[in-house]
């Protein structure tokens, strides 16, 4: 097994301040074959994400955001270029090796929850921890901790379908974090939620980031993106901009600079 996959991740590994490089892509491309020919979804992306860093990816529909996330997480093979996770080159790994890597080191949250409908909320989270290598006792403790934090303890034995969309998405986040991944990849996690549930999921992501969770998040929602340390703008499969988010002063007077209250 690779050095990376065999090394146990401890809490202390996850620093609050962004640390050394965690994920790096070099000249990454992805070409899809279509009926009419080929479609260049990703056209040479050099991206670096450090430990504990929170990076949002924005861009118009069809700019390659979701494809990039899928390729970085090994759900789709890259056409060319390199992906490095820690110090291991992973782009050429087999599907099976990728699966192992993901189980241990990567968490995914999608727009539509994707919980296992035949399992209870508790099992959805606990099984993810078990697959990630936790002991039975460890997995249960982790599940209790996460559900408690999300205010979902009372629903632990419910089936996912009995939960609201917002609750299901919180469970999906809990599941993705159950095995303490070094990297959380998430694609429009609030895309199907109302504003109250969006706020709840954002709080959750921000709290986990504050504890050192590295996150790559694809979103259309500027409120979501503005929480990140950095925003990458993807355009036509290439990075058009990559910059830190710095709070802008709300001058001359708070919201009135954006929204005027008039007579």
């Amino acid at each position: 097994m690779s050095r990376l996959a065999s090394r146990p991740l401890r809490l202390a590994d996850r620093l609050i301040e962004p640390g050394p490089p965690l994920l790096r892509s070099v000249g990454l491309t992805k070409v899809f074959k279509t009926d009419g020919g080929v479609f260049h979804a990703i056209r040479g992306v050099d991206l670096q994400v450090r430990r504990g860093e929170f990076v949002a990816v924005m861009g118009p529909s069809g700019s390659g955001k979701s494809t990039l996330l899928h390729v970085l997480g090994g759900l789709e093979p890259a056409t060319s270029g390199e992906i490095w996770l820690d110090d291991q080159r992973v782009d050429a790994l087999s599907q099976a090796k990728w699966a192992v890597l993901r189980r241990r080191h990567i968490g995914f949250v999608f727009q539509f929850f994707n919980l296992v409908s035949s399992m209870s909320v508790a099992d959805n989270v606990e099984v993810a921890a078990l697959i990630g290598g936790a002991s039975r006792r460890g997995a249960r403790a982790r599940r209790e901790e996460l559900l408690g934090e999300l205010g979902l303890t009372a629903k632990a034995q419910a089936a996912p379908a009995q939960l609201s969309g917002g609750e299901q998405q919180r469970v999906a986040v809990a599941r993705a974090l159950a095995h303490r991944p070094s990297l959380l990849l998430t694609d429009e996690p609030t895309g199907s939620l109302d504003s109250t549930n969006t706020a709840a999921v954002l709080r959750l992501l921000r709290r986990s980031h504050a504890r050192g969770q590295a996150i790559i998040l694809v979103t259309h929602d500027a409120r979501v993106a503005s929480m990140a340390d950095r925003v990458v703008n993807l355009f036509d499969g290439m990075i058009a901009d990559d910059a830190a988010v710095r709070p802008a002063p709300l001058c001359p007077a708070t919201t009135s600079s954006v929204l005027e209250l008039r007579d």
Binding site: A222, R223, S226, M227, F235, V245, P247, A248, L250, T255
Partner: protein, 174 residues
Amino acid sequence: MRLPLLALLAKEPAHGYELKVRLEQMFGDAYPPPNIGQIYLTLQRLERSGLVHSEDVVQSDRPNKRVYELTPAGREAVATWAEEPSDGPRVRDYFFMKLVLGPLAGVTDRLSLINRQRRHYLGLMRSLSALAEEAEDDEGAAEGNKIGGLLIEGAMLHLQADLDWLERCQEELL
């Protein structure tokens, strides 16, 4: 400032400082605290236009206070104001001017302009989120913060629209 003051006075007579406090309570942290000088100035103007009238109320232990009351004309002004539809959001044309003319002048290019503007909007969004969170956390002064929270949400939705539009510019012009 004119109509918010008239609307508050339609509820009950008040003096200038009370109006300031009420505005603050109504709008919470989202709206800049009204300047007391500006309130007095506006009240004087309203009185000159015949929309309010005032009289001094004697206080035993403090200086007299001037209490303002709505006139029938003032009440009518409030009713008219409430019935009129309000303008839609203003169109931001300052940036668009730059986008069109900046490259022409040879001082910048469109990608840089769009990127800079997007960063700025995201920074504003970040600050608004922080403000929204403060309003949420501080549940003590319930009513004002609820209204303030809605105001912040409105500002965020406008910003989101600005960002979407920036994306359209990017798609069409780059």
